[in-house]
């Protein structure tokens, strides 16, 4: 038998019909995660064709993108502020009921960001194919699943058939060796990788993150890394499952139980790239050289170590445009840049370990005057854990605004936005123009750097507060 990569193994196990020069493969989908924003038109398509959702048992719905994070709007009598968002939420409820799909609705204790609840429930498992109408579906690759974002037409295809037409992407090995330094997080690691390979360096590829650095990461950290694969252009990023993965999944409500667990683990252990497996391309990353990273421009590849200056690329059209938008100039240091809003949350950094990291900095300290620190847990479950373990108290004592779960300020379509011209130090995944609100200026960082900057009131190096 020829040596295969982890990706090859998961792909071939789901090939219903192999690809030919004329036709793409028919790829079976194990788990279809859905949310309110990218499904309405797919449900309309089903209605037009008179089709059911073929496997509602393999479909799970939540609400996250357009949902408010103010408790009064989620649980109280205050209506959702954004009318169109309220309509979308209602339609998700109606569609889930009409097509027999399990939905974690507004007030459900299991609700949360779609890429956080799958793993949290143990529904995301090694070797699965997982899709969702959301590009950060790559997150689930942290479990050794092949997980990627799809458009709404494809959401309709999965509804109707539980399969997708796909050409097999190429494979790219991201070999990461060495220890991350204190104060350097998984977020800094993935930002450094994107800086190294560029925002389209992964286009056409599925990434596999490998090496001693990756093995030493927790599941929360691995999810942060895989989450941002799409920011390097790759639809999917994968990490081979190991003891850390099994330990995380064991006992989760939807993970296999009892004897099923043992046979599942035995099966999952085979999900590694064979030693002789060939990748289409590879890149080497030196983890010990990585410092806390921060973006200075309008895509995640415009990134520097926090102590560095903005590179001077005057004359480069993309750079000049980004500098005009950000109000920065080449050669300026990043430390000390102004801060108006700090956002800690999102599918990239809204998990419990991210909140714990922020609390390490915020404990016994106060948010600087004039800075709005918004902390949004990735799920209601994480919110409850943070409240039970005292994290929420630390945040509130520091002067942070502690909210219900959701995508919140990552994409500003739910009432949580950054005003035009303001600087947002954000643990989210995209610093695109207008991403957090029209005219908003986003600097992407780790939860440690975000918390440190909130306390200092300017862009700050978290290592000085640890």
């Amino acid at each position: 038998m020829t040596a295969s990569t982890l990706f090859d193994k998961v792909w071939s196990a789901h090939e219903v019909v192999a690809e030919s020069p004329d036709t793409p493969a028919v790829l079976y989908i194990d788990l279809h995660l859905i949310h309110e924003v990218t499904t309405p038109q797919a449900f309309s398509m089903l209605r037009r064709h008179g089709l059911p959702v073929r496997r509602p048992d393999r479909t799970l719905a939540t609400m996250d993108h357009s949902t408010p994070t103010q408790s009064a709007q989620v649980f109280g009598s205050v209506p959702i502020k954004v009318d169109a968002a309220a309509r979308q939420v209602r339609q998700m409820e109606e569609n889930a009921a009409a097509f027999g799909i399990e939905l974690f609705g507004m007030r459900d204790a299991r609700r949360g960001i779609v890429h956080i609840i799958g793993p949290e429930l143990g529904q995301t498992q090694p070797g699965m194919t997982i899709v969702c109408g959301d590009s950060h579906t790559s997150t689930h690759g942290a479990f050794g699943a092949l997980a990627f974002g799809i458009g709404t037409t494809e959401v309709g295809h999965v509804f109707a058939t539980q399969a997708l037409l796909q050409r097999k992407p190429k494979s790219l090995a991201v070999n990461i060796e060495g220890r991350l330094q204190p104060g350097v997080t998984a977020k800094d690691l993935i930002l450094a990788i994107i800086g190294q390979i560029g925002v389209s360096g992964g286009t056409g590829y599925v990434l596999e993150y490998r090496g001693s650095t990756v093995r030493a990461l927790s599941m929360d950290e691995r999810m942060t890394v895989c989450n941002m694969s799409i920011e390097a252009g790759a639809r999917a990023g994968m990490i081979a499952p190991d003891e850390v993965t099994f330990e995380y999944l064991k006992g989760r409500p939807r993970a296999p139980q009892g004897r099923d667990w043992d046979s599942a683990v035995a099966r999952w252990r085979t999900l590694v790239s064979d030693p002789a497996a060939r990748f289409d391309a590879s890149v080497d990353v030196h983890a010990e050289r990585i410092e806390p990273m921060i973006t200075y421009g309008t895509n995640p590849g415009m990134v520097v170590p926090i102590g560095a200056a903005i590179p001077d690329k005057k004359g480069d059209e993309v750079f000049d445009k980004a500098m005009r938008y950000m109000g920065f100039r080449g050669g300026e240091p990043m430390l000390g840049k102004p801060v108006n809003v700090v956002f800690i949350g999102s599918c990239t950094n809204g998990r419990l370990e991210d909140l714990q990291a922020a609390a390490r900095i915020l404990k016994g300290r106060k948010v600087a005057q004039g800075v709005h620190l918004l902390i949004v847990p990735g799920s209601q479950h994480i919110k409850q854990q943070a409240e039970a373990s005292g994290l929420a108290e630390i945040f509130k004592a520091a002067g942070a605004d502690w909210r219900e779960s959701g995508c919140s300020m990552c994409l500003g379509m739910n009432g949580d936005t950054v005003a035009a011209g303001q600087y947002s130090i954000s643990t989210s995944n995209r610093n695109f123009e207008g991403r957090q609100g029209k005219g908003a200026r986003t600097l992407l960082v780790s939860p440690l750097t975000a918390a440190a900057s909130a306390v200092i009131g300017r862009v700050a190096d978290p290592r000085e507060l640890l």
Partner: protein
């Protein structure tokens, strides 16, 4: 879907690289539950001032852009969010093709499924196009050729199955549904494999000393 064979039109140039789908259509417009009218919001933050009045310098607000069906952009067009609202907005506005040296994976797939042609060209062709806004191009999907006003003819690759569907106005779902019997067989085989595996585990446990 209407068959798509040929596009003969002027170009509009937005020379920026790495144009992400948040620029093509900002997230605050994604609360829609339909597809219609999204052309109004295409490139909204570049096209309109905060008060909604048109940003005069932006190319889509200039007279020469009106009626053009081909958008020429810098490298890595359509990166970021998977929102299919991006090709919907481009199509609703009136574009039928996008040309760049590099087009992001998810956007490319979404475009093909809606009849928006994602055309990848070499650096030299791209530079010519970026420096000749308003050029009259002839795009022939059947031969996968793009003809410049200079007479130069450039081949562009389109995934063969998507091309077949576009040329014939076919919906890919029809083909996928024709494979339902295969999908059912695949599911049945997996259920059987799981049953056999469970039986093995059961047997192993029965043999094991307590």
């Amino acid at each position: 879907m209407q068959p798509l064979r040929r596009i003969a039109s002027r170009t509009v140039v937005i020379a920026s690289s790495d144009i992400d789908t948040d620029q093509i259509i900002p997230a605050r417009f994604l609360t829609t539950t339909g597809k219609e009218g999204l052309g109004q919001q295409l490139f909204a933050d570049w096209r309109y001032h905060a008060d909604g009045s048109p940003q005069r310098e932006f190319v889509l607000n200039r007279p020469e852009a009106q009626g053009a069906e081909i958008l020429v952009a810098g490298r890595n067009f359509g990166c970021g969010s998977s929102r299919e609202h991006a090709p919907w907005a481009l199509l609703d506005y009136g574009f039928r093709a996008v040309i760049s040296t590099e087009i992001a994976d998810i956007f490319r797939g979404n475009s093909l499924k809606n009849g928006l042609l994602p055309i990848v060209v070499d650096e030299r062709t791209s530079q010519w196009l970026l420096h000749h806004p308003g050029a009259e191009l002839d795009i022939d999907l059947e031969s996968e050729r793009l003809t410049l006003p200079t007479g130069a003819s450039i081949r562009f690759p389109i995934e063969p199955f998507a091309r077949h569907c576009l040329l014939n106005g076919l919906d890919e779902l029809g083909y996928l549904r024709s494979k339902l019997a295969d999908i059912e067989r695949f599911e049945a085989a997996r259920v059987e494999a799981a049953r056999v595996e469970a039986a093995h585990v059961e047997a192993a446990h029965a043999k094991a000393p307590v």
